[in-house]
Amino acid sequence: METNIIEKLNITFRKVFKDPQIKVYPEMTANDVEKWDSITHVVLIAEIEKDFNIKFKLKELIAMKNVGDCIRIVKEKLEN
C-alpha cells in the first residue's frame, strides 16, 4: 500500500513541479524542492486530493511537516 502511495505521489509531484526526475522520500520538505513555495503547495495539495480522491481535514494539513506525514495521512484516509 505504502509503495503504491509513494509511486502515485511521484507522479503527482512530477506533474506539479514539472520535473520528470523528482522522487519523493519521507523526510522531504518544501525546502528540498526549489519550486515548492506557497503557490505550488496549494496546487500540490489540490492535485493530491484529486489523484487520490480524498479530502484533507484542516488538522491533517497542519500536521503534515514532511512527505512522510503526507504518506501516513493518505494511507489512513484510504484505509478508512
Binding site: 506557497s38 503547495h41 489540490a46
Partner: protein, 223 residues
C-alpha cells in the same frame, strides 16, 4: 497619557478587533486588501474567512489569536500586533498559511487565484527560520502618535526572545510605500536587508505597492 496604555495577550473575545487590525494593516494605508484582490473574494467573504481562521488559532503564522498582543487605552481597543518565531517546529509560515487558505477558500478559488499569486513571485520575500516575525501592526487612528506600535512590538520581542533561546533577530516585511511605518521601524532600530520590486503592471491592481522590503533588527536579550 502613557500610563493609561496597557498591553495584554489577545483572546477569542478580541476576534472582531483582530479582524479589523489584520485588514487595516494589510491595506498599508491604501484601500486594497490583497486577500480580496488576489483571491477575487468580497469583503463579507473575507470577514467570514478571517473569523474562521482565527477561531482555529493555528500557530506559526500571523492569523493566530495566540500570537497577538493588544494595546488598550482606558480599557478601549487602541492597537494590535501579531508575532511568532518562524518555522520553530519546522513548518514555514507561508506553507502553513497556504494550507489554511486552501482549506477555507477551497480548491476552486485557490486554483483560480494561481495566476494572480504567480505575479507575486518577483516580490516574494522569504522569512528566516528562528527569526521573530512581526505582522499586522495596527493602531486605531485616534490613538496614533502615542508610541503604541513601538510598545507592542517591543513587548512581543521581549516575550518571544525570552521564551525562545534560538532567536537572535526580528524581521518585518512591509510595502515600500508605507513611509510612516518604515520610519517608525527605523526609529526602533530596524534596517532594510532585502528590497524587491516588480515591473509587472498588474501587481498595482492587486497589492498596495509593487515593492516590498524586509527590515531586520538584532535581538538584545535581557536575561
Amino acid at each position: 497619557m502613557n500610563d493609561k496604555i496597557t498591553i495584554r495577550k489577545a483572546t477569542e473575545k478580541d476576534i472582531p478587533f483582530l479582524r479589523e487590525a489584520i485588514k487595516e494593516a494589510e491595506k498599508s494605508g491604501t484601500e486594497k486588501i490583497s486577500y480580496c484582490t488576489l483571491f477575487s473574494i468580497n469583503d463579507e467573504k473575507l470577514d467570514e474567512i478571517i473569523f474562521q481562521v482565527l477561531m482555529e488559532d493555528i500557530e506559526g503564522q500571523e492569523l493566530c489569536v495566540s500570537h497577538f498582543l493588544i494595546a488598550e487605552v482606558d480599557n478601549q481597543y487602541a492597537g494590535a500586533c501579531s508575532a511568532w518565531v518562524e518555522a520553530i517546529d519546522g513548518s514555514f509560515s507561508s506553507i502553513i498559511k497556504a494550507n489554511i487558505l486552501f482549506y477555507f477558500l477551497g480548491d476552486k478559488i485557490c486554483t483560480r487565484a494561481a495566476d494572480n499569486l504567480k505575479l507575486m513571485e518577483d516580490i516574494n520575500i522569504a522569512r528566516e527560520k528562528n527569526a521573530i516575525q512581526i505582522e499586522s501592526v495596527y493602531v486605531k487612528e485616534q490613538y496614533r502618535g502615542l508610541g503604541i506600535a513601538n510598545q507592542i512590538i517591543q513587548e512581543q520581542i521581549n516575550q518571544l526572545s525570552n521564551t525562545n533561546k534560538s532567536v537572535n533577530k526580528v524581521q518585518i516585511i512591509l510595502a515600500k510605500t508605507n513611509d510612516k511605518a518604515y520610519k517608525a521601524y527605523q526609529k526602533l532600530g530596524f534596517k532594510t536587508t532585502i528590497e524587491k520590486h516588480s515591473n509587472k503592471p498588474e501587481i498595482e491592481k492587486l497589492l498596495p505597492s509593487n515593492s516590498r522590503i524586509m527590515m531586520e533588527m538584532p535581538v538584545h536579550k535581557t536575561f
